[in-house]
């Protein structure tokens, strides 16, 4: 299916306002989805016979920095029987990044969302077990944010080298 067909498919079912735009430049081509509707859109795209996206290949979080003041969550969907792929992009407010969890739709989302929460601080509403996954449980802050400052020490261990490296 072409990207325009996906767009009308989603708009016909859920509403005109759902798709904010289309990114033809992306590979695979992307639909920009309004934040509140992402779960409905994904559920419809997964269960529809024409799209049938049975696999969530990748879930990426992106921080656009404090100047732009937005964050993005990118979903890469793939349909094994129909051999087609689609990218969905959602832009979130950086002050309070919140989005519905996809755990009920694809179990892949469980760990990928935990990772996005851990490194970016995005809250996934409805996630059953939103804990840190890569960083220690008592780590302060979310390291992949653009304005993250590395702490000087962790549990009494210095994280910054005081002397210059002799090499």
């Amino acid at each position: 299916m072409e990207i325009a067909e996906f767009k009308t498919l989603v708009q016909d079912r859920i509403g005109e306002a759902v798709v904010i735009g289309v990114d033809e430049n992306a590979t695979p081509k992307a639909l920009l989805i309004a934040p509140g509707y992402i779960k409905d859109v994904c559920l419809y795209l997964r269960d529809n016979d024409q799209s049938y996206f049975d696999m969530l290949s990748c879930l990426t979080a992106i921080d656009n920095g404090p100047e732009v003041n937005t964050m993005e969550v990118v979903y890469n969907l793939y349909s094994i029987p129909l051999e087609q792929s689609l990218m969905l992009k959602v832009t979130l407010d950086r002050e309070k990044p919140e989005i519905d969890s996809m755990t009920e739709l694809w179990k892949t989302a469980d760990w990928h969302e935990r990772e996005a929460y851990d490194l970016f601080g995005i809250q996934f509403v409805g996630h059953p077990d939103l804990r840190r996954i890569l960083m220690p449980g008592d780590w302060q802050g979310h390291p992949m944010r653009k304005d993250y400052v590395e702490p000087e020490e962790y549990r009494g261990m210095k994280t910054i080298r005081e002397e210059e490296d002799p090499s």
Binding site: T27, E83, T108, L119, R131, G137
Partner: protein, 405 residues
Amino acid sequence: MSQAIEYKYRPENLNESAPNKYTEADLTREEMIINIGPQHPSTHGVLRLEVVTDGEIVVDVVPHMGYLHRCFEKHTESVPFNQGLPFVDRMDYVAAMNSEHAFVMGAERMLGIENDIPKRVEYIRVLVAELNRIASHFVAIGTYGLDIGAFTPFLWVMRDREHILRMLEWISGARMLYNYIWVGGLFYDLPVGFEEKCMEFISYLKPKLKELDDVLINNKIFVERTANVGVLPRNLAISYGATGPVLRGSGLKYDLRRVDGYSVYPELDFDIPVGTGAMGQVGDCWDRTFVRVQEVKESVKIIEQSLEQLTKAHKRTKDFDPRAAVPKKIRPKAQDFYVRAENPKGELGFFFRTDGRSDIPVRCKARACSFSNLSVLADITRGHMIADLVAIIGSIDIVMGEVDR
């Protein structure tokens, strides 16, 4: 020179830095929490498993990882593509060539130079990637045998893997972390005489694979330990995003080398082995291991065909420069790009965002195959014995370097 590390020991430190998911209040009277790892041979690296057990029956498993987290994604946000490549090697360190191939394909497609790559370069890439695939599967099969008590196959496959590592060292100068496949080409052409040596190795390897079948795969003790253990239904595997031998073991013929047909794979003749439940049910531990052994045989076929091409149609010539298409500056135009390739362990994907103004990606996310494959662990382990838990972890074939990145 070195500074003294002041580590203040307090008993509650571990509970704060790596807290358990379950507390005593969550357990019934019969249940207890057993901690396996992070330093344990059967967890294949620094993986900590919080196991809730009822006697010897596993009630739930909670994997805790991050012990090998080396900030791949943070690093790639500060270095250009060609300097990010060595970090890619260090993700899945037993299959570095395959990971490099995926990353490099992504950069080339973003630049739009993927059709400028000479055929000889593509065949060399496929050749080294398949050699590395065999080496990676050998580690998986060998250590899996070791996990469940078969020592001999481990020594045999490690001996054969060493031949591959030596050949790859001859090509690139490094045993495991190669940095050989470059954006737009290769580090060097194959060394003179490599094709013959590789052919020799293949004819040496073929009877050894037959031996491996006899000593491990069809061994009665091995079958008893793995058949009907850790059955992964196909739908669950897809929902978890499990790929590679884990998904194919569940009976789905899904291989990106065929589905996407990248590089020169469409020109090569090979089969995609799937699990059939020959010894138990479809998707059990035996099926996953069986698929790996069959894939080694398919890789041997691919290597033979690549060598045929490299010695005939795309022969070595004096003026051949594998770096001819290497761009001076890797600066793709602003775009979002998702690229994926079939690694020995499954689908390795990279999500790139570039801004068109610098050589450095704004964001580079690695979709690691081991990461998604490991997430099925809890669902297929519940109700099994603790000894089977070890068998299941080994059959998933994880590399912690890739899980934690």
